[in-house]
């Protein structure tokens, strides 16, 4: 088990499109388990593989955030088969720390994906889970929630992102 290093906005790699997973093996299991640990460490409810510098179509989600196995969702190669309605909440992202912003999303969605054994399944979702699925699957297509916000908000965040990067650097040095 390990907490993995995150990529942070404005890292261009976050805009890269991820490739489908073809091999379902122990390595994948380990990666997914580390992704959960990384997500929980920062109070996240969802994490996509490109956020940890792995450009594969893998998403982990736990919207309850109590670390219970029954709430943990793993989606390999997910895609939407159905979207309906409109909703939106203030979203936040582990790769865009310190920013909240409202994004318009579909209210109900259906997702087709594979599990850790490569078996296909379908998932119907609404509420927070539907929003989280859209946020994470966006990551696999190189899209961040901040990309939906106004250019003014994005630019304001850029200077803050620099300050945060410096602070992370400082803390890292402190730990060593």
């Amino acid at each position: 088990m390990a907490i993995l290093e995150l990529l942070y906005y404005p890292d261009e790699k976050l805009h890269q499109v991820s490739a489908p997973v073809t091999e379902f093996n122990d390595e994948l299991r380990q990666l997914v388990s580390d992704m959960f640990e990384t997500m929980y460490a920062d109070e996240g409810i969802g994490l996509a593989a490109p956020q940890i510098n792995v450009f594969k179509k893998i998403v982990v989600i736990d919207v309850v955030n109590e670390k219970k196995p029954e709430d943990q969702l793993v989606l390999i190669n997910p895609e939407f088969t159905f979207k309906e309605g409109s909703t939106g909440i203030d979203e936040g992202c582990l790769s865009v720390p310190g920013l909240r912003g409202k994004v318009e999303r579909s209210e109900k969605v259906t997702v087709k994906a594979q599990n850790l054994d490569g078996e296909f399944f379908e998932l119907n979702a609404d509420g927070l889970l539907a929003i989280c699925l859209q946020h994470e699957i966006d990551h696999l297509n190189g899209k961040l929630f901040i990309d939906y916000l106004s250019p003014l908000k994005r630019n304001m965040y850029r200077s803050k992102a620099k300050a945060l990067a410096k602070e992370r650097e400082r803390q890292k040095k402190h730990q060593d």
Partner: protein
């Protein structure tokens, strides 16, 4: 994705966890605040502390409009409403913003059905504000939001000062630092602060203390990384001064974590022969080690139980000076930890007094003849303080009180600093010598 909840929602969840599920308040706040913007994080802290500081006042408002009591299942909703009322009553937030955001928070908590009630309570308060204020200010309990038993204790001990003490315990604490004047003279540090747009105000009788305004995060404090400053209340800074360490002394700092007083002793007297910093909690001892490292100081750090008669942990059989910063009710630092008001019980204070007595007894045995002990608490309960020491002096013929002020006698020993005096925390000190 991070579920970036409304700070009011988080405040309601955090308070529920702290008061009903026994979760440590500040640790939970820090954990949740980690992924928030610094603005949202300080707003969250303001809400959590505000609701706890004015709990009975805010509950009084809710009760005026809600007939059915809240149950364990929806108690969160009550705290969310109180967050909104706190904004209206104490923060001058524009009415529509406070009401809208609070209604939203109740929705986020999963209680859409109680949105109407939330709206009604908040608008009801705005309509009847004057009348409610008058009514709630009638009793000390609702006016200052303190449990009755604690009001009774404070009244018995400090009589006329009751209102002032309660009011000061509800104030926001200042940011106070201790400056290591060997690394940076105090005048120079004041200048450095002002170069950074900050003001440093000296504290009477505590020469190394500065109150810094406006309060900032440590990374904004000049010379913080070099170890020239340490964040510590001015009342706590008096411990090392009163202990008065001398070159060649072997010193024990009992119950040392997080190491504020440990490091101060070493700064005041770098030529002590040795200092042993002891604490029960291994996790909190890490903080002692970190602080020693940041301030580039050396001490022996040991994990041990100060109340146990087994002294095998100690590298020395006896000490020249012992600082005993005893576990206490922490009633003197309620302004920093307002949850204490609601978590402490009179029974708990009784058992703390017993534990302190046991530790005092035990540590006294580790003091060399002619040695000095400084007993300290951050409590304002006389049983933990002056009565504890009075009792100890009467039971130990080899214990002699060394007065820290002119008013002290064996019948009325120790210096009680009341919270808010010179903007300090509430603290108690008593100094004793072990006669041969």
């Amino acid at each position: 994705m991070i579920n970036s909840k409304n700070p009011r929602t988080l405040a309601a969840e955090i308070i529920t966890e702290a008061l009903h599920d026994g979760q440590p308040l500040m640790a939970t706040v820090r954990k949740k605040a980690k992924t928030m913007s610094s603005q949202d994080a300080s707003f969250l802290k303001e809400l959590v502390n505000g609701i706890l500081r004015h709990k009975l006042y805010l509950e009084g408002i809710v009760d005026a409009f809600v007939e059915k009591p809240f149950k364990a299942k929806n108690i969160k909703v009550k705290y969310a409403i109180m967050a909104g009322l706190y904004q209206l009553a104490f923060l001058n937030t524009p009415h529509h913003a406070a009401v809208n955001e609070t209604v939203k928070a109740v929705g986020e908590l999963g209680f859409d059905t109680l949105k109407g009630l939330t709206n009604a309570v908040m608008h009801g308060y705005l309509r009847k504000k004057g009348e409610l204020e008058q009514q709630l200010n009638k009793s000390y309990e609702t006016r200052y939001s303190f449990p009755q038993w604690l009001i009774t204790d404070i009244k018995a001990a400090y009589g006329k000062s009751l209102g002032t003490v309660l009011e000061n315990l509800n104030r926001h604490p200042p940011l106070t630092v201790r400056v290591n004047t060997a690394k940076c003279p105090i005048d120079e540090y004041i200048k450095l602060l002002s170069d950074n747009g900050l003001t440093g105000t000296p504290v009477p009788k505590v020469p190394c203390a500065l109150v810094i305004t406006p309060p900032v995060n440590t990374e904004k404090l000049p010379l913080f990384d070099s170890g020239a400053v340490f964040i510590q209340d001015a009342a706590a800074q008096q411990a090392a001064i009163f202990l008065d360490p001398q070159p060649g002394d072997i010193i024990l700092d009992a119950c040392a974590a997080p190491g504020g007083k440990t490091t101060h002793i070493l700064e005041l007297c770098p030529d002590v022969k040795d200092l042993v910093a002891m604490d029960l909690d291994e996790g909190r001892l890490m903080r002692v080690r970190e602080n020693l490292q940041r301030l580039r100081l050396k001490a022996k750090v040991v994990s041990a139980d100060a109340s146990s008669e087994d002294h095998s942990w100690s590298p020395y059989s006896a000490y020249d000076r012992i600082l005993l910063d005893a576990p206490c009710s922490a009633t003197g630092v309620i302004r920093r930890h307002p949850d204490i008001k609601w978590l402490r019980t009179p029974d708990e204070i009784k058992s703390i007094v017993k534990l302190q007595r046991q530790i005092l007894e035990n540590m006294w045995q580790m003091l060399k003849p002619g040695g000095i002990m400084l007993y300290a608490t951050c409590s304002i309960e006389p049983e933990e303080n002056t009565l504890q020491i009075k009792n100890f002096l009467s039971e130990h013929s080899d214990a002699e009180l060394i007065p820290l002020t002119a008013e002290e006698t064996a019948e009325n020993p120790g210096l009680q600093i009341l919270p808010g005096l010179d903007d300090m925390d509430g603290f108690f000190y008593a100094k004793m010598k072990k006669n041969c």
